[in-house]
């Protein structure tokens, strides 16, 4: 299991990493500062996220300069559709906002599997675990 935290706020990335690292089974945590950097990295065939052997769960902040979280998720969905990114890459939106409008938007993108409200608490961790279970093991 690999985690990618896409967030422009350094402290929020730090908090996420700390909370996730408590669980040894959660594996590696990558921190990325922007949507553009994430798209670049996920497409990089020589990069650390290329041909993953385990599912990749992306914690995606919503409010970022440049590409925001929804725009980045939409680009990722298109990449998965085109087969450029394996379907084992999924997104959980990651925001301080509990705005219903944001939750609705999250439901409209098939690649977005959940919505985590900052800061990550125990309930959020269980939600993450459920999503990971539903992904199942990677074949091949």
């Amino acid at each position: 299991m690999t985690f990618v935290v896409v967030d422009d706020d350094e402290m929020d990335r730090y908090i996420a990493r700390r909370r996730l690292s408590v669980f040894e089974s959660f594996g590696e945590v990558y921190e990325i500062e922007s949507g553009q950097d994430f798209i670049r990295l996920i497409c990089d065939s020589d990069g650390p996220l290329a041909s993953p052997s385990t599912p990749i769960v992306v914690l995606m902040d919503i409010n970022m300069p440049g590409l925001d979280g929804f725009e980045t998720a939409e680009q990722l969905r298109l990449l998965v559709e085109k087969g450029q990114v394996p379907p084992s890459v999924v997104v959980m939106m990651f925001s301080s906002s509990e705005n219903p409008h944001d939750r609705e938007r999250a439901e409209q993108n098939s690649i977005i599997k959940g919505y985590v409200v900052k800061p990550i608490d125990d309930a959020a961790i269980s939600a993450l675990e459920r999503v990971i279970e539903s992904l199942g093991p990677i074949v091949d």
């Binding site: 929020d12 922007s34 970022m64 300069p65 301080s96 409200v117 900052k118 800061p119």
Partner: protein, 490 residues
Amino acid sequence: MSGLGDALLDHWPLPAVVVNVDGVVDRSNPLFEELFEISTGQLDGRGIDAFLQLETAVAWSNIVGEYTASGLTRLDRVFKGVTSSGRSISVELGLTRPKSDDRSSILVTVFDVSGRTRQDSLAALTFQAAASAMITVDKHGTIRSVNPAASLLFGYARSEIVGNKIESLIPAEFRASHTVVRDQFSQASGSREMGRGQEIYGQRKSGETFRLEVALTRITLGQERLTLATIVDITERLAAERALAEKEVAEGQAERLKEINEELSRYAYAASHDLKAPLSTIAGMIECCLMDLGTGATDEVERNLLKLRRLCERSGSRIESALAFAKVGHRKASLEQVNLREIAQEMWDDCSLLHAQAVGFDNAAPAHLQVRTGPAQIRAIIGNLFSNAVKYRDIDKGKCWVSFDAHKDDQHCYFSVSDNGIGIPRERIPDAFGAFVRLGKRSGDGLGLALVKRNVELLGGKISCDSTVGEGTKFVVELPSTVHTSGELQ
């Protein structure tokens, strides 16, 4: 026997006949014979009533007397003529004495006016049948005729108003002035619309008044010059126009309200993100500190507490600027003569002091250029644009610069802030002025350009942006030369 030469009569260019004072025909000319469908000399020796139907009471000698008295050769009087086949024609007569010493013989020239009288009766029919109200008025302002549509419009029977002054059809308060205007019209020439943009009112028999429009036309009826007034009741049209205008106003207000609501909801959305985010971060950091305290990692705790303190300070100032932004709309601009060059210089000095960056500045605004506008708003606009220009400078370029320019024409004053910074992607420009919109990693609270735009709007101006990524950005502000302040979002 007539003294008029036969040849002259034969060649007279109009139908003519020579009669004596008693109306006995002496001779006719070929054109006359043609008109009345007779053979040459067929009427010689016959009375004038052989071709003219005179009313029984009117003797030929009286008609001759009337002409003589008038001193005219032709009177505006239509007679009924009858041809030999019994066809009725309308004629006017010209009477001359071919020889001044011979008072017995009269040359009667016959003008066939059948066509004209047909036209007249057509006009009369039209007048009666017209859907528009028509009234004829003589030079004294007396109503001479009204058509059925006019009777209906004003609620009077024809006999009740013919002979009255036209002023009886307008409300009392306008009567005196109408008399004066009417006199002026009857002395001037040409047709025109009445009122010249003023509101004209009519008054019905019931006393009810209504708005109307009148076209005035001069006509000549017989010998008399009359004014034909064509009157249209515009009550319904005005009501329709008013309804339309009210609808437009209502739609405009609804549109404005919608804009305000959208702006508010955008603001609330952005505020919920931006103002709540630090609290989530603080809660998360505290959780980390608690974990570290449990394991005794006090160094980590201290580092994180210091970060937390800075975050709290930053959040405080972010809330301040969000509040400041919300307040801009409610302030009213106080106006003064402003020297743009001086303000730009002052703002640049502040800005470069704050950033202490090596960025060149060119102030190209003319020293004498003054504009009456709100100095506080101008400072906010220029200050924010400068701070942006410095923040988004292109470090890869050898020399970074910012330039200020201004000029003025009859209606507007323009100033611009240009830089050779990193630029804004074209598709992001429309969003750039939104509140809490951050375009890049270097963005602050996302309020700078929103604040600029609000201030520009407060001064009744417009702002536009032209930018190329990698080359630079130019903001142009257009302000009216005289500002009408609006308390935007009242």
